[in-house]
């Protein structure tokens, strides 16, 4: 019973965040796609076509699996994660050394 209540609280929090984000995105009159493309509409449209038309399959779409490309993508992600972790650990080490030096200076 207690666990169910906790799950409900977590889901409620997620729903609040999701609802807020949805309202923010849907009520913001900002087209990120055209912004990202430098306000250039695709040349294949003649202005009469439906602007919210679906893109054709292919290109960036990951509908089909590829072991080689997928593994390389996974190792890139792992590399990024390792780099971020190392940077944070080095920062932590730097801060602790700085703090230790400060304490040493205060005591002497």
């Amino acid at each position: 019973m207690k666990t169910l209540f906790r799950i409900a609280v977590i889901l409620l929090m997620a729903a609040i965040v999701a609802g807020g984000l949805y309202l923010l995105v849907e009520n913001t009159a900002f087209d990120m796609v055209s912004e990202a493309e430098g306000h250039q509409r695709p040349a294949m449209t003649d202005g009469t076509a439906n602007p919210s038309m679906e893109r054709p399959e292919g290109g960036e779409d990951h509908h089909s699996a590829s072991l080689t490309r997928g593994l390389s993508e996974m190792f890139v992600t792992l590399g990024k994660l390792a780099a971020i972790t190392i940077v944070i650990l080095l920062l932590q080490k730097g801060f602790s050394l700085l703090r230790a030096a400060k304490l040493k200076a205060q005591s002497s």
């Binding site: 990120m32 994660l81 971020i84």
Partner: protein, 174 residues
Amino acid sequence: MNTSTKTNLILDITIFVAFLVIASPTLTGNTIHEWLSVAFSAAIITHLLFHWKWLVSMTRNFFKHLFHQSRLNYVINLLFFIAMTAVTLSGLLISKDVMSFLGIQLDAGSNWKIIHKLASDWSLILLGIHFALHWKWVVTNIAHYIVSPLRMVFQPHMKPQSLSVQPVHIEKEK
């Protein structure tokens, strides 16, 4: 929810591996990517349940101790939760398999694809920070629960490392 460190570690490793697989949709294809993400959300909820006591005590004491180290951890975790919620929401809105399986037709704008990409990039960064902040816990427990038993398998003549206090016999000098 009372859980052992071993259970926590197993769940965390599972979540980590799942994150890596989900972050590479080319590896699995879109259908597995979507369904694995749904299972991943359930694993995240379980992870939160395992750390419920910490969550509640930190939420209560957040403004009491201004320069407490756990505050940074709490803020990172909160941002990670928001990023993961954004990834899940945008993923469901642009979903091709999960929502159609549930019989739901959504007409999400193209902005949601960009939000999905942005939120997943931010989750990767926040996961890296989250991982670094728990580095000592991860290293200690991987050494204790994975490396040490593996060493025992390959070198059975070695005695297991014990952290318990051993009696020391000291002879008095005469």
